[in-house]
């Protein structure tokens, strides 16, 4: 079925991503199956078999090979997509650095899953967050609709800055949950996302090469250039999102403030936790607690200015997250504290690692943690809360 008009469908998060990929018209999709990402690959395959999606769907022999194929295809000027999760992402690690250094605007969907050992299949953001220094832009989404919309936006941003982009949603909470999703019309997406046509590409007739050995000075300049491009991402992401909003009626920002009026405390969260936190904020507001939510959607580059603006005037923040960096604690907690460093009227920042390993964090639990934060003083470390 070619999406000729905007259509409302009941889709899982993973299937919503597959539709987004089809609408973005990548030419090459190298991918290797892994739970819980596999339904993305299956749906893309279904759409291809049905003749709806003209694409070179490559099944590589491993995730490492899949990413290598992505890089090469992207260097030739093809729009590229891939998807993975957990161990698969870790197996790609070497080539993730290569992809950003080679300035390939690949878009990848990562479905957050616990990393071993012990073995598990549960939602946990540590897999993607442990790749935060690889030079990939990272977006985190909280619903199937947002995943679909963000994949399309990701191409827009990635191809402007020539950096690869990872869109991330959590296993099962998002990947396998059915939600009503508005799938945009192909024409509208084509208007929003013009074909990828890089000026410089790998062409055997011209004889360019990538990835050559360089001296210290040149290496420094390459890395500095990646950093300079990264610095432009927040502004470009805001523009891309705003234009998406004008075209499709949905926009998210890179940092969202929810019910923050006169807030005495703000929950800071990303991914599916942000969706649950909305319910908790509503309940807390109903109980007379001036609580709000700051949702961090763009995690790399970390949107320092937008976050500082979002929390200005709020005396307390409580980060509730689903990841763990041994020796450092909750990763959003650490990133947030660094981003707020030196801020006038610095809020007190609590950090709770509550959903690690996929442990369900209910709205009621978020209410409890918010109350605990209101009634206690924060410590520098992130705190485990089962």
């Amino acid at each position: 079925m070619t999406v000729t008009t905007e259509t409302r469908m009941l889709l899982t998060g993973n299937h919503a991503v597959a539709y987004a990929v089809m609408l973005a018209r990548p030419a090459v999709v190298p991918v290797y199956p892994i739970t819980p990402q596999t339904p993305i690959l299956e749906k893309i395959s279904d759409l291809q078999l049905a003749g709806e999606f003209e694409v070179d769907l490559m099944t590589a022999e491993s995730e490492h090979s899949a990413m290598t194929a992505c890089i090469t295809a992207s260097l030739t000027g093809a729009r590229v997509f891939t998807a993975t999760a957990s161990q698969g992402l870790l197996l790609m690690h070497e080539m993730l650095h290569f992809a950003s250094g080679a300035r390939t605007p690949i878009v990848m969907m990562n479905v957050n899953r616990t990393v071993s050992s012990p073995w598990g299949f549960w939602p946990d953001q540590t897999d993607s967050l442990s790749q935060r220094d690889t030079g990939w832009i990272q977006y985190y989404t909280e619903s199937a609709q947002e995943s679909l919309d963000t994949v399309i936006q990701a191409y827009r941003v990635a191809e402007q800055v020539m950096l690869p982009t990872m869109v991330v949603h959590e296993a099962f909470y998002i990947s396998h949950s059915l939600e009503p999703v508005i799938v945009p019309a192909q024409d509208a997406v084509d208007a929003y996302l013009p074909p990828f046509d890089p000026a410089i590409r790998l062409d055997p007739d011209i004889g360019r090469s990538w990835g050559n050995p360089v001296n210290q000075e040149l290496y420094f300049r390459f890395r500095e250039a990646v950093g300079g491009s990264m610095d432009t991402v927040p502004g470009l992401a805001v523009e891309a999102d705003a234009e998406y909003g004008r075209a499709f009626g949905r926009s998210y920002g890179i940092v969202e403030r929810y019910r923050m009026e006169e807030a005495e405390i703000a929950i800071v969260a990303f991914g599916a936790m942000a969706g649950t936190a909305r319910v908790a904020v509503d309940a807390l507001r109903a109980a007379g607690v001036a609580a709000g939510l700051v949702k961090v959607k763009l995690f790399r580059p970390f949107p320092i200015e937008a976050v500082r603006e979002a929390v200005t005037g709020v005396p307390k923040l409580v980060v509730i997250e689903r990841n763990f960096s041994p020796g450092a604690g909750g990763i959003l907690h650490q990133e947030l504290k660094a981003a707020l460093c030196g801020m006038v009227g610095l809020p007190k920042v609590h950090g709770y690692m509550a959903g690690v390993g996929g442990v369900n964090v209910s709205p009621k639990r978020i209410e409890e943690l918010t109350r605990e934060a209101l009634a206690t003083e924060p410590v520098p470390q992130s705190v485990w809360r089962r």
Binding site: A287, L369, R371, E372, L374, A375, T376
Partner: protein, 333 residues
């Protein structure tokens, strides 16, 4: 020797009549906690953060086994539409929505009462305290009992009704009971393991009315049973002849304000499922420390057997903190 370090466990054992090493001590620190924070009670009652922090700080200062979260009958009254005036930082009910009207089931909007006024603040502060201190300390959120609330809602007419038109008084009690159960459910839903029904005026009611009061309270006992929670009843028992009747109202325990004679209270509790607790008077905690030693020392002899639980429901704001520490020292031996 038992090794019970958490006040929460000590209090629970005491209420359940199981062996304990010493009498647990439960304090009501509401307005006094505000004073320790150098704030007014009116001020802290308007802000759940200030209220929760003041109570938590005071609890940590004294290290009591149990804490009555906020015993203030004007909270429910205000939430039900009574006007409250403040004099010397003490709230006083000055209007009565059921005065001069038929106190039927629809005469008061009970639904949503928990979200009104300072009651919503007290609920929120209690939830926070339960989150940060509920594992160690026995927290007793206080709900206002039917007699005191009925008196607030109908004013002096309630007492006249009791003598002249008891059916009208019982209708008012019924409405007050609905409010009490609704507020209690908020606390029980928040995970509290025990409640205090504070009904200072109950002790003034003639025992002939106890069957109707017992019927109103029974709903709460049933709800608390569902949550596996204990409910204590607190009132002023200045008339000894009413003690037996009060013990028969079905609460898990009775805090008899003003009674500190341990032997008599212990014997009064015999033969009832209701555990009797003793209330340390405001005059005692504020007054001469020699008197306090004389009166409270016998209470610590409870070691090795059940009860009594010692509650201090009113600590006058002028009480030096050293007096409270001294009371705890005497009771703990």
């Amino acid at each position: 020797m038992l090794d019970i370090t958490a006040g929460r466990e000590l209090v629970r054992r005491c209420i359940e009549g199981r062996p304990i090493d010493r009498s647990p001590v439960v304090l009501h620190l509401g307005p006094y906690a505000a004073r320790l924070q150098q704030s007014s009670y009116q001020q802290v009652c308007a802000d759940p953060t200030m209220l929760a922090n003041s109570l938590h700080s005071a609890q940590r200062l004294f290290g009591c086994d149990g804490l009555i979260v906020l015993m203030d009958s004007t909270l429910e009254a205000e939430a039900c539409g009574c006007d409250v005036a403040w004099h010397d930082d003490e709230p006083e009910v000055v209007s009565h929505p059921l005065a001069g009207v038929e106190p039927g089931a629809h005469s008061l909007a009970v639904e949503g009462v928990e979200n009104q006024g300072r009651l919503a603040v007290a609920l929120e502060a209690a939830r926070r305290l339960n989150t940060v201190a509920g594992k160690e300390v026995a927290l007793f959120p206080a709900v206002t009992g039917p007699v005191t609330l009925a008196s607030h809602l109908r004013g002096p007419s309630f007492w006249a009704d009791l003598d002249e038109s008891p059916d009208l008084a019982y209708q008012t009690l019924e409405v007050a009971g609905q409010v009490m159960v609704r507020v209690a459910r908020q606390y029980l839903d928040a995970g509290f393991e025990q409640l205090l029904v504070s009904d200072p005026l109950l002790g003034r009611v003639d025992a002939t009315h106890y069957p109707q009061i017992a019927a109103v309270l029974r709903t709460l006992w049933n709800v608390a049973d569902f949550y596996d929670a204990h409910v204590l009843l607190q009132t002023d028992v200045s008339d000894d002849s009413r003690l037996e009747g009060l013990l028969g109202l079905g609460a898990a325990g009775l805090i008899a304000d003003g009674h500190t004679e341990a032997d008599r209270l212990a014997s009064g509790g015999d033969g009832h499922s209701c555990r009797i607790a003793t209330g340390v008077s405001a005059a005692l905690i504020e007054g001469d420390q020699g008197d306090m030693e004389r009166v409270l020392s016998p209470l610590r002899a409870a070691g090795g057997r059940s009860g009594p639980l010692v509650a201090c429901c009113t600590i006058p704001r002028s009480t030096p903190p050293a007096n409270v520490h001294n009371a705890l020292r005497i009771l703990r031996g």
